[in-house]
Symmetry: C2
Amino acid sequence: MSVVSPVLDQIDANLDASLERLFALLRIQSISTDPAYAGQCRNAAQWLVDDLTSIGFEASVRDTSGHPMVVAHHDGPEGSPHVLFYGHYDVQPVDPLELWTDDPFAPSLKEVEPGRKVIFGRGASDDKGQLMLFVEACRAWKQVHGSLPCKITLLFEGEEESGSPSLKPFLEANADELKADFALVCDTGMWDRTTPSIDTSLRGLVGEEITIKAANRDLHSGMYGGAAANPIRILTKILGAVHDDTGRVTIPGFYDGVEETPSQIKQSWDALGQTVEGFLGPIGLSELSGEKGRSLLELVWARPTAEFNGINGGYTGKGFKTVIAAEASAKVSFRLVHKQDPDKIRAAFRKFVEERIPGDCSVEFLRHGGSPAIQLAYDSPVITKAKAALSDEWDKPAVLTGSGGSIPIVGDFRTFLGMESLLVGFALADDCIHSPNEKYDLNSFHKGQRSWARILAALTA
Amino acid sequence: MSVVSPVLDQIDANLDASLERLFALLRIQSISTDPAYAGQCRNAAQWLVDDLTSIGFEASVRDTSGHPMVVAHHDGPEGSPHVLFYGHYDVQPVDPLELWTDDPFAPSLKEVEPGRKVIFGRGASDDKGQLMLFVEACRAWKQVHGSLPCKITLLFEGEEESGSPSLKPFLEANADELKADFALVCDTGMWDRTTPSIDTSLRGLVGEEITIKAANRDLHSGMYGGAAANPIRILTKILGAVHDDTGRVTIPGFYDGVEETPSQIKQSWDALGQTVEGFLGPIGLSELSGEKGRSLLELVWARPTAEFNGINGGYTGKGFKTVIAAEASAKVSFRLVHKQDPDKIRAAFRKFVEERIPGDCSVEFLRHGGSPAIQLAYDSPVITKAKAALSDEWDKPAVLTGSGGSIPIVGDFRTFLGMESLLVGFALADDCIHSPNEKYDLNSFHKGQRSWARILAALTA
């Protein structure tokens, strides 16, 4: 009998209890971007420490200048590798709250179609559900074997959804403690409900908030309209100029460092059979909005974007107010690929904006994090072993994919700890992460635990 | 002794009491655009009816499908003209409330510089202070002479700040009762603190709210960015295209009906000595934002505009959310001049927007009122008499000016009652109407009452 078989049985036997534990974690409103929830973030960190301690980890809440980190260690057999598992316990805000069918922080199991149950609640998929997979795999392994197959360090942060301001200082200050042979990062998705995947690329991210200020007070648009600067007009003129008619970003230097994807890779993506209709149909859309002449997967995995994530100015309540606002603001983000430099992109955008501000107006910039893109080697031993382990657990063989989202931690692990990451996750495209009615398939939660047990076995065989 | 002299003395003697009455009216939170304040609007109407009844008017609150009207009548000597005085008792919303130095609905008298006192509070200038001038002039006249010098009808509406939806039906239904020889409208300003003015033109207004809808839910900008439509991007692209680089509006047909102002009129405006620095300096600006090659007064009195009064979409709270919003919206208004047709402007704008909406997205329009511009005859007897009366009261002779704002009632009086209007008002440019910290000079309140008494005397001599 293999070393992993009884662990898989134990995971099966633990399923109901593991679900209760996840629900307890989901009930904690750990929204990191809103300072009002700081106490809840700390509660989530303490909950994880208590749970990890009960398994046998040496776990602690570690203060930062923002929300705390959770760090936990467990020894493994001599000569075994040392792996660092990363996850985040913070979640996105829940607005617009009225679009949720139930309280986002009252998790429940729902049967959405015959035989398919999902875990409903904010963070069910991103990332509390995903991080608990590994915790449960460790618990089951320890219960069966009384030990773990390798030295394991866990790092859970509480600021992933708000730019991770404390992460780099923490990694730098604790590099000796945290450096492992490689990292396991569980914040990605499956290709589909039966096909696991390993992400080999991640887009980077630059976040900027701009506020354009004109008059020193709100103005009557009749008295001043035609003479006085309107900051909403300036803002929309600038943002309206960021893309040309082919969908390309017009900011000078924006495409520096962007590489053409090798044709072999593009062919393997084409072989995945993803259609525009299949991708956009479920969200009510039908046309690709990005650069013309690029395939869907190229657009979301290998091309950079400029997106406007929020915009606000003037009177936005009911009715009408004939006002010229004193200021207007927007939150703008750029998804980066390949060798695009976040600092250069930020500087180029700021220059692009500043050049378009009238002489009697001003602009303020607020930085919201930045991280370069990641491109992993397709043929590393870790990826090869993990691919085989995943293929054993699931109905279909694992595939190598890209990811359109950012996981800045992967770049930080490379930069600060000299460590590459294995990106495996079990989220699905319809999980509604960052949206109302977030969920995580019960199947992902169950077979995800089993997958991590199999990967641990493969990596330590 | 002239008939008006004792009335002027009575106004002087009544000043403190008239101020107390205005404060009582200012305390009523009659914000018409927000349905939550409907009861307060009715309270303001009833307060006016009670006050007018005490003077001897036959006054009543008249229900509409929105906020009620106040109508009051008082007979005059046989053969005297019949004048209709118009004002509005509703006020603008008060947000952003945190920018007010005091409660907007707790009026007070403040000395802003030695010898200059102002009445502080929402509606102090627009329009409760201005409408009470005429009420107080009537009160004083009645107290002195036991009668009024002509037949007077008062019409106070409660929806001027929210598009006046009930006004036209009310005028149509009550045309016989309301039709007078001419109207007196007190919703405009003085040229400066010592120079009264009569407005001979008013810009019209078209208000539109547009909401662009893309995906059926908010999306993660990493997962979908580059593939899925972003409604904020569509909205900013459209609004960013409304003006060209010379400040002209690009909507096809927008300038149909706009006339060149006669050079004689432009010369008289130039003679007023208004500088860009003097106009924009107090609000912290220095550059004209409208069509290039036009003078300041031409831009605000005789040229049309497109303004963006509010914009909203995506995540606008603290921090950052990497979301692609499901929808984005904007409130847009157009100031019209001369013979521009509000319906055609609205239709042209909607077509302009619709042509720029991607095939898988949609747009919804919400109408927020519309009125054509007004251009009065410079040499009518009423204007000539009023100009002389104002020149008697103030330090400097009255001037004929234009107004950048809309007073739709003036067009409605022309359309529905076949009646022209005399536009006289005592607001000042620094009154902060529609903004935080609205005020009305005590001098405007005092000499404005005296001015109306003089005008009544001149018109009935």
